[in-house]
């Protein structure tokens, strides 16, 4: 078996790692969450502004590897403007594709988050990709802060 790094670090992922979108912390927010991977020390903090069941704004602050940062950046772009229910549905679909419960085709391959599915070939890095998504799930599942 041979591992080609470009299968994992696709151009779109390197781009989001170099120039992360929505990085930082919202000054005003009503949902927040944090994620920590004790195995590697990666950390993420999400702040969201949810109004009338819609994600109006979202930012992330992360300390982690390229997969963690790129996944967080892509995730924030993907869910900004979505309804909470819609974002949670996307979480479920993304989670099931990453973990192999659903085939990759279940996700729209024109979306940037599709590129993250390359991690399926490298199970040790799945936690990096999922860190931001689990934090999103936590933030949306909790009551307003």
């Amino acid at each position: 078996m041979s591992l080609d790094p470009t299968d994992l670090y696709k151009e779109v992922i390197l781009d989001h790692n170099r120039w992360p979108r929505n990085r930082g912390r919202l000054e005003e927010f009503n949902r927040s969450s944090s994620g920590f991977n004790p195995l590697c020390g990666d950390q993420i903090a999400l702040t969201l502004n949810v109004s009338q069941n819609q994600i109006e704004d979202i930012k992330f602050d992360a300390q982690g590897c390229a997969m963690t940062v790129a996944s967080a950046s892509i995730m924030t772009e993907a869910v900004k403007g979505r309804t909470v229910d819609d974002a949670l549905k996307l979480f479920d679909a993304f989670h099931d594709c990453i973990s192999g419960k659903l085939p990759p085709e279940s996700l729209d391959d024109s979306e940037e988050y599709y590129a993250l599915l390359g991690v399926r070939a490298l199970p040790v890095r799945i936690k990096c990709v999922m860190l931001a998504w689990h934090a999103l799930h936590d933030a949306l599942s909790e009551n307003e802060t």
Partner: protein, 476 residues
């Protein structure tokens, strides 16, 4: 200042700029004869079958020896032979196989007593590994006096306000057990700081010792992150002046240094088999016999008792007192084989050493192994330093061939993945040393840890792969 050279436990801050002559631990220069033994040690690489594996289409360059070392064919064969021809439970049996297995297991104990140069064979406790050894000691000192057999003086349970000194470079396995012991006993854990070079701050250590009453100094022989070799003999001497006992985490040291517990002067020394070319799931706690006799047992059950009634149990003598249940018999035998392998390594390779010849052979093997490793370390540091954006963490006075570094713009996890795609195996993350990471000011590092069987070519492959990662992620 302190003299940092202490017999066989220390490695010289040797420089190799003088050409052919290399300084040995005892200060003498390497002679042509010693060069032969260096060549013999290097040839030992061929004894490790896994080193010819292909990883992602590339030959494996295994630079993760601080996590675990590989096993020579003789250790693999020995375990196979035990299960194929000798398997039986030990002690208390009358049939032939059990008697044989008991003999082989107890012979393994003798080999390990030689390996650490213990005072007596009864000081060798077989267990699951270094973590279990430290937990055994920490748990004893947190146990109430009525469970102790002969508490006296230094060897008695911790009480409220007692101080346990650990160092800032400890692996979690030599920190968390002491936090638990402190929580149970009311003692407090304090840390000996490290200097910017990555050495223990000995002035601070002296100052901390004056705090009353320091009861236990728990310190690693060598850092698993930055490779620092700590001056255990000096630390123990100072600790004993303040009536504290010394517990040494030997996990990293055993593959690199000839361990001599008599010379080190520690009270307990714990290590794991799998980090010294032996099997996983087996380790040794060495402790002074009087200490072990005074302490309460760690786990209880079969094999560790003298007499049991429904009301009361009296315990067996050491070492049986600390080996409840059926031990890892094959593991102990495999570990003894690893010790014999190391003894034979620089001595002509004419089969494993016999137990009575082991000690001098171990010393000459480790002297040659140290020369090989110091050259590898010097090469690695020389090659890593000019890499743009790369920073090596810590420059200890005495260093095992264990190097942690960070690279601008490339997170250790991404670097680890790229290196793996090139067949280069390193470890990335916090290395179970979160307090040390905080001290070094980084969340994670990439660590290359070498063994005697590594080569200069593998170091060059590491450098090439790092440069590939730099261009892949965009040079900073």
């Amino acid at each position: 200042m302190y003299r940092l050279h202490f017999g066989v436990e220390s490695r010289g801050a040797t420089s190799f700029e003088d050409g052919d002559t290399m300084k040995l631990e005892n200060g003498s220069l390497a002679t042509p004869l010693e060069s032969d033994s260096v060549a013999t040690v290097r040839a030992g690489r061929a004894d490790f079958p896994i080193l010819s594996t292909l990883i992602n289409g590339n030959p494996l360059a295994y630079l993760d020896n601080a996590a675990t070392t590989h096993k020579p064919q003789s250790v693999i064969n020995r375990i196979q032979k035990f299960y194929a021809a000798e398997n039986s439970n030990i002690h208390r049996g009358v049939h032939t196989l059990t008697a044989q297995a008991t003999d082989i297991y107890e012979e393994a104990r003798s080999a390990l007593a030689q390996f650490v140069n213990g005072f007596s064979v009864d000081e060798i406790i077989f267990n699951r590994g270094c973590t279990e050894g430290i937990n055994c000691v920490a748990d004893a000192f947190a146990s109430p006096a009525e469970l102790w057999q002969h508490p006296s003086g230094l060897i008695s349970p911790l009480s409220e306000g007692d101080v346990i000194l650990v160092s800032e470079m400890e692996h979690h396995s030599n920190l968390v057990p002491w936090q638990i012991a402190a929580a149970k006993s009311g003692a407090v854990v304090k840390a000996i700081p490290i200097t910017d070079s990555g050495d223990l701050d000995l002035d601070e250590y002296q100052a901390l010792l004056k705090m009353n009453p320091v009861r236990i100094v728990a310190v690693t022989h060598a850092s698993n992150v930055i490779g620092t070799v700590n001056p255990i003999q000096l630390l123990a001497e100072l600790a004993h002046q303040h009536s504290a006992i010394v517990v040494v985490d030997g996990a990293q040291a055993v593959a690199h240094l000839a361990i001599d517990v008599q010379n080190l002067g520690a009270d307990f020394y714990a290590f794991s088999g799998h980090k010294m070319f032996g099997p996983t799931g087996i380790g040794v706690l060495w402790g002074k016999q009087t200490h072990l006799e005074a302490m309460p047992p760690y786990q209880t059950g079969g094999g560790m008792v003298r007499e049991v009634t429904m009301q009361k149990t009296t315990f067996a003598q050491v070492p049986a007192k600390f080996e409840a249940g059926t031990p890892n018999i094959a593991g102990a035998i495999g570990l003894a084989e690893a010790a014999r392998y190391l003894a034979a390594l620089a001595n002509g390779g004419s089969g494993p050493a016999s137990i009575d010849k082991m000690r001098p052979q171990l010393q000459s093997s480790f002297a040659a192994l140290t020369l090989v490793e110091d050259q590898l370390l010097a090469h690695a540091l020389q090659a890593l330093t000019p890499v743009k954006g790369l920073k090596v963490l810590g420059r200890p006075h005495h260093q095992l061939p264990v190097i942690s570094f960070v690279l601008d713009g490339v997170h250790p996890h991404d670097l680890g993945t790229i290196l793996d795609s090139e067949g280069v195996a390193v470890r990335v993350g916090h290395h179970c040393c979160m307090p040390l990471m905080r001290r070094l000011g980084v969340p994670a590092t990439t660590r290359a840890s070498l063994a005697f069987y590594n080569t200069d070519a593998e170091i060059e492959r590491l450098i090439d792969a790092i440069n590939k990662a730099r261009s892949f992620f965009g040079e900073p």
